[in-house]
Amino acid sequence: MSGASGLLVVIGLPLLTAVALVAIGWSERRFGIVQGPGFFQRNGLAVGIYLVVAVGFWAFFVIVLPQLAMVDMSFRPKLPPAQMGGPKDVYTLENYRYFLFGSTTSTASWNWLHIKAFFLTIAVSIVITLLNFAICYPLAFHMAQSARPARLRVLLLLLIIPYWVNEILRAFAFRVLLSSGGVINKALMGIGLTDAPIDFLGNDVGLYMGLSYAYLLMMIFPLYNAIESLDKNQIEAARDLGAPWWHIHAFIVMPHAKPGIASGCTLVFMLCAGALAAPLVLGGPRTLWFTPIVYDRFYQAFNWPQGAAYAFILLVTCIVFVLTVLKMFRLSLGEITR
């Protein structure tokens, strides 16, 4: 999106949307679907302008247009600034070709390093998501259904404090814990389980633990909120009717908490797959993770179009994941972002 055509989109898209919205409003009023005062009548001119400007700026200049600009850039070649918009500035697939084949022109061999990192990232993120669900579900259930108010307050406070500790510091804490001179290795050697320190960080155990740890609370709060709204009587009734405990969870609590489960899972997956701090802090030189590769496209290879292509691949993956979860749970987007 460079030069005049780009500006056309930047101005045209919001304008077209505004025209479409006015047309919809007019037709709805014309055919009597909606009655009552119009938008500016209802809000007054000043407030009405504030609403339109704020939402317009946010929706277009902060959300939609930047994403479009990124996608657009990902289909362009890397050029020096002078040649941008020139004859060489044409749409191309070379950045995506590079992701698959490790070269912008030949398709002879696969770019295994990046492909492997990509799929490993997705797979590990899914495993961590499931693991965090398993870790958090019992506590969320306890807090929502059986904890007494005073105890609940303490539990919530204990959960909230680490929640506001920075992601980098959380990763750093794991580094202190797991490094070769760290507490865990000293303890293991102290009780004679191992002779030499185990290289937790080198073989990525530290990274996976750190990721699971960092996003634990993104799982527990949605779960807690969803389970809390379940009427206790339903569980009592099921118990009185002789349902075993796992029946109660599988057929009463979990179906009720579906939106919370889906919301926690999408959040944890998205944060894991897009995590940058934990791989930087806890990863070794041989660590395979996709986001640092994206980062390096920008700040080591200085190839922005390629970085944009990699970012777009990650974005599409996340969208596919969210849609799959929604489909699996038969939910709408509105239900999981509550």
Binding site: W58, P66, L68, W164, V165, A171, L177, L276, L314, L333
Partner: protein, 295 residues
């Protein structure tokens, strides 16, 4: 009930393990902030020191980053809360037919990985400022405020929307019938009703902005914030000064959470007192005029 007891013990063990996992690493880091060795070490404790806090305060970059982070946090609050408020109000008024599309657009940043938001913001504003000759807008702090606002506004909108859905339209109509203008209704009816939600949104916006790394690392360009300086330090090597920073953050959170708790309890007490008073007054009225109450 032997099975019941066993279950309880198992559950207590689970909770204990959960919180050791959750708080243990922070505790370990906390201890290393007071231990003397150069490398963050927990055991053996070779001496208790406050040097690392001093080193932290003497770290120019870190302090510079802190100030930038605070500024960005305040600017994000100033931008994201009004935008989130507008987003929520528009959500309740927009035509049924486009509502789901609108919702999809404005909530999408919540589900987008942070680095993608940072990248796309930088790419877009670089080209826009180049094309329009407004290069001075291509600034790390401005871009970071915009990039962070994309998802923080969505958080704010969701918080405000939750309260807005409990708003009684009759209040607005009553005010209008009594001769209030629309701006007056907005100013004197809607905003006071939304005040608690606006306050929560502002707190959340500030904290989310302050601790953000993934988006900021791209959008900050050549400037630095606390988190980007921190990331650089951690990558270079680890010193207990970083642990000291974590101790300060945890302590600040604790104090903040306690203040919030106290304020909340006071407010709860006040509301329940008011409700009791209202109920008592109503009772009195009813006993004074028994005919007024329909059986």
């Amino acid at each position: 009930m032997k099975a019941g007891l066993l279950q309880r013990v198992m559950f207590a063990v689970y909770i204990a393990i959960f919180f050791v996992y959750l708080l243990g690493p922070l505790g370990v880091m906390g201890v290393s902030a007071f231990n003397t060795p150069e490398y963050p070490q927990v055991w053996p404790i070779e001496g208790v020191t406050l040097d690392w806090f001093g080193k932290l305060l003497a770290d120019q970059d870190m302090m510079y980053g802190l100030v930038t982070s605070l500024w960005i946090g305040l600017l994000v609050v100033a931008l994201a809360v009004p935008v989130g408020l507008a987003g929520a109000i528009v959500m309740t008024q927009i035509s049924q037919r486009v509502r789901s599309t609108y919702y999809l657009v404005v909530v999408s940043p919540v589900l987008t990985p942070g680095i993608i938001i940072g990248i796309s913001t930088v790419v877009f504003w670089r080209e826009l400022t180049l094309a329009t000759g407004t290069r001075f807008l291509y600034d790390g702090i401005i871009l970071t405020v915009i990039a962070q606002s994309s998802f923080i506004s969505a958080y704010c909108m969701l918080i405000i929307l939750a309260r807005l859905q409990r708003f009684d339209r009759a209040q607005e109509e009553a005010a209008l019938d009594l001769g209030a203008s629309y701006p007056q209704v907005f100013r004197h009816i809607l905003l006071p009703f939304l005040k608690p939600a606006l306050f929560s949104a502002a707190v959340l916006a500030f904290l989310s902005s302050f601790e953000n790394y993934n988006t900021t690392t791209f959008s900050i360009l050549s400037d630095k914030t606390l988190t980007t300086v921190l990331a650089g330090r951690v990558r270079q090597g680890t010193t207990p000064a970083i642990s000291a920073l974590a101790v300060i953050i945890v302590a600040a959170t604790l104090v903040g959470a306690l203040i919030y708790e106290i304020v909340k309890r006071r407010e709860d007490a006040r509301t329940s007192a008011r409700q009791r008073a209202a109920a008592a007054a109503e009772e009195e009225e009813l006993t004074a005029e028994p005919a007024a109450s329909p059986a």
